[in-house]
């Protein structure tokens, strides 16, 4: 048998039907649902008199619209947001799917809740009407975002019509230097390949620096596979993965655990398997990075300066000019001199316990710069509870951060957490698009440790200076 990649293996195990032109019907093991991309899909089911084929494999949680302030128990004030969350409440009940409502301590960002509850397991196919579904690839699951029509298709049939993507390998060799994190890896890869570098491909991340990452760090890396244009990102499961999964509420137990484990241990890329594209970065060469523009590929080491449009070629010249104007930046300015107004720590990219630990580590015994607005939004109610137990919440609060409830929050600003026009934010989220965090808002992406360092100095800061 010819050698297979990890992606080939997972794909092959899920093909229900293959047409002559290669179009496949792929079986879906887990369907995650949130309130923004699902109402039209449930409505479509109702109109056609259809049901959810596998409600036990469907998991819903509201995250995008929910306020993160403590008063949210009294209800959502924005009427449209409230209607959307109420629609999910009703749809979850009507169709009998697994549900974590706003009032449940386990509620949080769908991509944090899924793994936390053991819904996401190695070798699975996982989809959600959300591009950051790529996150679940950290477990060696084939996970990607889908549109609302496809959400409806999966609800009705538990399958997806797909054509196989190409295989791409991203290898990070060697060790990371101190102060360099999973976020710096994933942003540096996008900087190297561009935001379309992975288009049409499923990326497998491998190499020593990836193996050395915790599961939380691997989720950060896979989360941004979509920002590199890839359909999904994958990391082969190993002992760290199995340790993370074991004992979680929906993970297999007893004899089923043993059977699952035996299968999961076959989930790796065979020696000699073919990759259509290969990118290799040296772990030692990766620095703490920040973005300067309005695309995640606009990334540079914190020690660099704002580039000039003329530094680029083709369509990127105009794009860079537009980005600099939007961001209010002048070419040649050292990145570490850019002053910020706001710090946002959270999101499905960096809202897990390890991220909060890294930020708290920098902030311990320090205060944020006077006049700065800073907030921590844990990725789930359980992350929040754990951070409180570990004393991290106190460190954030003493430093001057707001300590919020779980949700997507300022990552995409569908709830009240938004930037004002011109407000400049150091953010641990995943997109620095124009208007992403609020109309006219200016986003610089970075790791939690770098965001914490920026909170202390009030400007983009090399976290290594504070270590």
């Amino acid at each position: 048998m010819s050698p297979k990649t990890l992606y080939d293996k997972i794909w092959d195990a899920h093909v229900v039907h293959e047409a002559e032109d290669g179009t496949c019907l792929l079986y879906i093991d887990r369907h995650l649902v949130h309130e923004v991309t699902s109402p039209q899909a449930f409505e479509g089911l109702r109109m056609a008199g259809r049901t959810v084929r596998a409600p036990e494999k469907t998991i819903a949680v509201p995250d995008h619209n929910v306020p993160t302030t403590l008063d949210r128990t009294s209800g959502i004030k924005n009427e449209e947001s409230r209607i959307q969350v109420e629609a999910l409440d009703k749809n979850a009940q009507d169709f009998g799917i697994n549900y974590y409502p706003v009032s449940d301590v386990r509620q949080g960002i769908v991509h944090i809740v899924g793994p936390e509850q053991g819904w996401t397991l190695p070798g699975m196919t996982v989809v959600c009407g959300d591009s950051h579904t790529a996150t679940h690839g950290a477990f060696g699951a084939l996970a990607h975002g889908i549109g609302t029509s496809e959400v409806e298709h999966v609800l009705a049939t538990q399958t997806l019509i797909q054509k196989k993507s190409k295989n791409m390998k991203v290898e990070i060799t060697g060790k990371l230097r101190p102060g360099v994190t999973a976020k710096d890896i994933t942003l540096s890869v996008i900087g190297a390949t561009g935001t379309a570098g992975g288009t049409g491909h499923v990326i497998e991340y491998c190499g020593e620096a990836i193996r050395d990452l915790s599961i939380e760090g691997r989720m950060t890396v896979c989360n941004m596979a979509i920002e590199g244009g890839a359909r999904a990102g994958l990391i082969a499961p190993d002992e760290k993965t199995f340790d993370y999964v074991m004992g979680r509420p929906h993970a297999p137990k007893g004899a089923q655990w043993e059977a699952a484990l035996a299968y999961w241990k076959t989930l790796f890329t065979d020696e000699g398997a073919h990759f259509d594209k290969v990118i290799t970065l040296k772990g030692e060469d990766i620095a703490p990075v920040v973005t300067w523009g309005t695309s995640p590929e606009d990334v540079l080491p914190i020690t660099a300066a704002v580039p000039a449009p003329e530094d680029f070629k083709g369509g990127k010249v105009d794009a860079a000019r537009r980005a600099l104007e939007y961001m209010g930046l002048t070419a040649g300015t050292p990145l570490s001199e850019i002053e910020i107004d706001t710090v946002f720590i959270g999101s499905c990219t960096n809202g897990r316990i390890e991220d909060l630990r890294a930020a708290a580590d920098v902030l311990k015994g320090k205060k944020i710069k006077e006049g700065l607005r800073a907030m921590v939004v844990p990725g789930s109610g359980l992350v929040r509870a754990q951070a409180e137990e570990e004393g991290l919440a106190d460190i954030f609060k003493e430093a001057g951060f707001e300590w919020r409830l779980a949700g997507c929050s300022m990552c995409l600003a569908m709830n009240p957490d938004q930037l004002e026009p011109g407000e400049r934010c150091a953010a641990t989220s995943n997109r620095n698009f124009e208007g992403r965090q609020g109309r006219g808002g200016r986003t610089h992406l970075m790791s939690p440790a770098m965001a914490a360092a920026a909170a202390v100095t009030g400007r983009l800061t090399d976290v290594r200076e504070m270590m």
């Binding site: 549109g147 029509s149 298709h153 538990q158 019509i161 369509g315 698009f433 208007g435």
Partner: protein, 201 residues
């Protein structure tokens, strides 16, 4: 879904790379629980100022392009989120085809589910069509899905590739779910074998 017919119409030029889904339809319009009515908010933050007044320079606000049926744009169009609100807004505005050197995956797929044809052409051909598009009413572009061609105002034809299955569904206006449900027996039988092999799933 309605069938995709041959289009001859005005094309709006949007010579930007990496046009993302937040530009196409900003998040404040994702709160709807309907699919319709988003056209008025297509490219909202580029199209209107902070007070909701039209920005006259923006292409879709110019008289020639208010009824554009085709959009010509730069590479990696539709990058970012999976929100189907992006193609819903494009369709609701009246645009039926988008021409670009490349598209982001999820957006590309979402277009087909909504009767929109995304057309990939080499950069030099997109550049020529972009020049045509800049002439507004004076240079109509024709998109012929059946023959897989785009014709510029001078009659030059550019051939494009399209997945045969997606072409068929678009031309016939077919509903994916209905087609898949015809394979229900195959899904049943897969599920049975799968449950035996991987009972923990």
């Amino acid at each position: 879904m309605e069938k995709f017919e041959k289009i001859t119409g005005v094309a709006a030029p949007l010579p930007l790379i990496n046009v993302d889904t937040d530009m196409i339809i900003p998040k404040q319009f994702l709160k709807t629980i309907k699919r319709s009515g988003l056209g008025v908010n297509l490219f909202d933050e580029m199209r209107y100022d902070g007070e909701g007044r039209e920005i006259p320079d923006f292409v879709l606000n110019q008289p020639a392009y208010r009824k554009a049926e085709i959009l010509v744009a730069g590479e990696n169009f539709g990058c970012g989120s999976s929100r189907e609100h992006a193609p819903w807004a494009i369709k609701d505005f009246g645009i039926k085809a988008v021409i670009a050197p490349s598209f982001a995956d999820i957006f590309f797929n979402n277009c087909f589910k909504n009767g929109i044809l995304p057309i990939v052409l080499p950069q030099d051909q997109v550049d020529r069509l972009m020049d045509d598009a800049r002439k507004g009413e004076n240079a109509r572009i024709t998109v012929d899905l059946e023959h897989q061609t785009v014709s510029g105002s001078d009659g030059t034809e550019f051939r494009f590739e399209v997945d045969p299955h997606q072409k068929h569904c678009l031309m016939e206006g077919l509903d994916d779910i209905g087609q898949t449900l015809q394979k229900a027996a195959a899904i049943d039988s897969f599920e049975q074998g799968y449950a035996a092999r991987m009972p923990w799933v």
